[in-house]
């Protein structure tokens, strides 16, 4: 393992220190906790809290700020934060209008956030939650824990965050978050695995000639392992699954996110995007807005994911509303 770290035990803590030192105008750290909150607490609105294991930067601390999150809780690498940490975040950001928890669909995240919500409700704080599950690589059935929450979660942060900024009620913010969740689909691919610092070795193995299609953001196996193909062929595979699941009609409008997994150069992400746009144009699907970059990474994984969000007028307005955070800006 070759990484810029000092001590595997301090990776998360030293990263958070570095983030606050770099961006004090955006975020502050809750003293004694692994929680980032807005540098200036916004009152008179519903507050949004998200979080999860570390290693997905800029998710989630990078989306704390105007028009997106009010607080982000960082667990150990790829490990859900604990209920006491989430509870502190909820207490810190609540401005009396209630708190929406945006949880990615993982067993641990749900249990820890639910325990935190129980603690907060016991103190009289209004809490609601939504669970993102945009990964079409996982079959959603009684026999799985359900689809994983992956890069599409960032659209939930953006749009529900914009809704909260308008002064909407907790119910209304939750409803628009649910609308995004119902309309967003993602699928990913890995070319090289990632290494959790504390584990010291890659979480899985891929040869120079292999790729894992449908990879999860923690390196969980996907649908298929295949010999590497061209960028266009890989996009065709992923887009077929996403579009089959989403079933958009010609004339529909979508937002596109081409997300890097942490060790994929922008050059390659743009090559993937080129083909995504060709496919959508061929199908008569209008691209309203495209985002290319690292939004939901997997430490040092080489890979990418494609996310499509089907839009209506409300979602379009909220997508274009002002956002100013470390990792996502809209003016």
């Amino acid at each position: 393992m070759k990484k810029f770290i000092n001590d595997v035990e301090n990776v998360e803590n030293e990263m958070l220190e570095g983030i606050v030192l770099a961006h004090p105008e955006y975020v502050a750290r809750l003293e004694g906790f692994d929680v980032l909150v807005r540098a200036d607490k916004k009152v008179g609105k519903v507050a949004l809290v998200s979080g999860g294991g570390s290693g997905h930067e800029p998710s989630h601390g990078g989306f704390v700020g105007t028009g997106m999150l009010d607080g982000a809780v960082a667990g150990s690498v790829f490990t859900s934060p604990t209920p006491d940490q989430v509870f502190e975040a909820i207490k810190a950001v609540d401005a009396g209008e209630g708190v929406l928890l945006v949880i990615k669909n993982y067993t641990g995240d749900i249990m820890n956030f639910e325990m935190a919500a129980e603690l907060a409700e016991a103190e009289g704080i209004k809490v609601a939650n939504v669970v993102t599950n945009d990964d079409v690589a996982v079959e959603d059935s009684l026999y799985t824990t359900g689809r994983r929450g992956v890069a599409g979660t960032v659209f939930v942060h953006k749009i529900a965050g914009a809704k909260a900024e308008t002064g909407a009620s907790l119910d209304d913010v939750k409803a628009v978050a649910q609308k995004v969740i119902a309309n967003v689909r993602t699928m990913g691919v890995a070319l090289k695995p990632c290494t959790v610092p504390a584990a010291g070795k890659p979480g899985f193995e891929l040869t120079e000639e292999e790729m894992e299609l449908g990879i999860g953001i923690h390196g969980e196996p996907g649908t298929e392992r295949k010999p590497i193909q061209t960028a266009d062929q890989i996009v065709d595979y992923l887009m077929e699954r996403i579009l089959n699941d989403m079933n958009p009609a010609a004339g529909d409008e979508v937002a596109v996110m081409i997300n890097g997994a942490g060790a994929t150069p922008p050059m390659e992400l743009y090559i993937l995007n080129r083909r995504v746009q060709q496919i959508l144009a061929d199908k008569g699907i209008k691209v309203f807005k495209t985002f290319v970059g690292d939004f939901m990474t997997s430490i040092d994984m080489a890979g990418a994911s494609i996310t499509l969000l089907k839009l209506d007028d409300e979602l379009k307005d909220l997508l274009l509303a002002k956002a100013d955070t470390i990792g996502f800006k809209m003016y």
Binding site: A199, G219, E220
Partner: protein, 212 residues
């Protein structure tokens, strides 16, 4: 029966096992999960060992609850809420007890497994912690009903726990991250069932040493 010293001994022995088997549990988890079970459990029990001196003068229920709270706040993932809830529920079941009768021990185990089922919304046969825990508890109860001593029953309990671990190799995971693998999860043992089997191993070792 078990004295407070036995309970403290169990916690220490189990903590040692989580440190000793850190890599093994992590390896099982890398095969079908996210590869951190041993890391998280050993981190949690290291914190438990730091906490223990501050609570060991208290009642058994307070000690178990402190262990549970410490696990919830340090383990993370799914294991933190599950193991934490188990210890907290076990503690609540034996409130005010200076020492535990066999009935108290069974009640604590039943409450612990109930807590795990509530928090994890799982049942037996889904390739989880429950697949070693439920057979172990059932074996302990059956042995006692046959007139065996608690020490003999705990031998049977540990044995059933490891059989449960073996059983997890044959079934498909339908809960947790391993469920994404579907049939590909067959052939691998469940890391959570394994760490739970070490709990019954620890209980058994303490009972044999205590001779009761």
């Amino acid at each position: 029966m078990a004295t407070k010293a036995d309970v403290l001994d169990f916690i220490r022995v189990y903590a040692d096992k989580m440190a000793e088997h850190r890599q093994e549990l992590t390896d099982y988890d890398q095969a079908i999960g996210d590869g951190d079970h041993g890391i998280n459990m050993s981190r949690g029990f290291k914190a438990v060992m730091e906490k223990l001196p501050t609570v060991e003068e208290k009642n058994i229920d307070d000690i178990l609850k402190a262990v549970g709270m410490t696990l919830v706040s340090t383990v993370g993932g799914a294991s933190g809420p599950l193991y934490g809830t188990a210890f907290m529920k076990a503690g609540a079941a034996v409130k005010g007890k200076e020492e535990l009768s066999n009935e108290d021990i069974l009640l604590a185990l039943d409450e612990a497994v109930g807590g795990i089922q509530f928090r994890g919304k799982a049942v037996e046969g889904e390739k989880t912690i429950l697949d070693s825990m439920i057979p172990a508890i059932n074996a302990i109860k059956a042995s006692l009903a046959d007139g065996k001593t608690m020490a003999e029953a705990l031998v049977a309990g540990e044995s059933a726990a490891w059989n449960g671990v073996e059983y997890t190799k044959t079934i498909i995971a339908t809960k947790g991250r391993a469920s994404y693998l579907g049939e590909r999860s067959i052939g691998h043992q469940d890391p959570g069932a394994t760490s739970m089997a070490y709990a019954f191993q620890a209980i058994n070792e303490v009972a044999q040493k205590a001779g009761n």
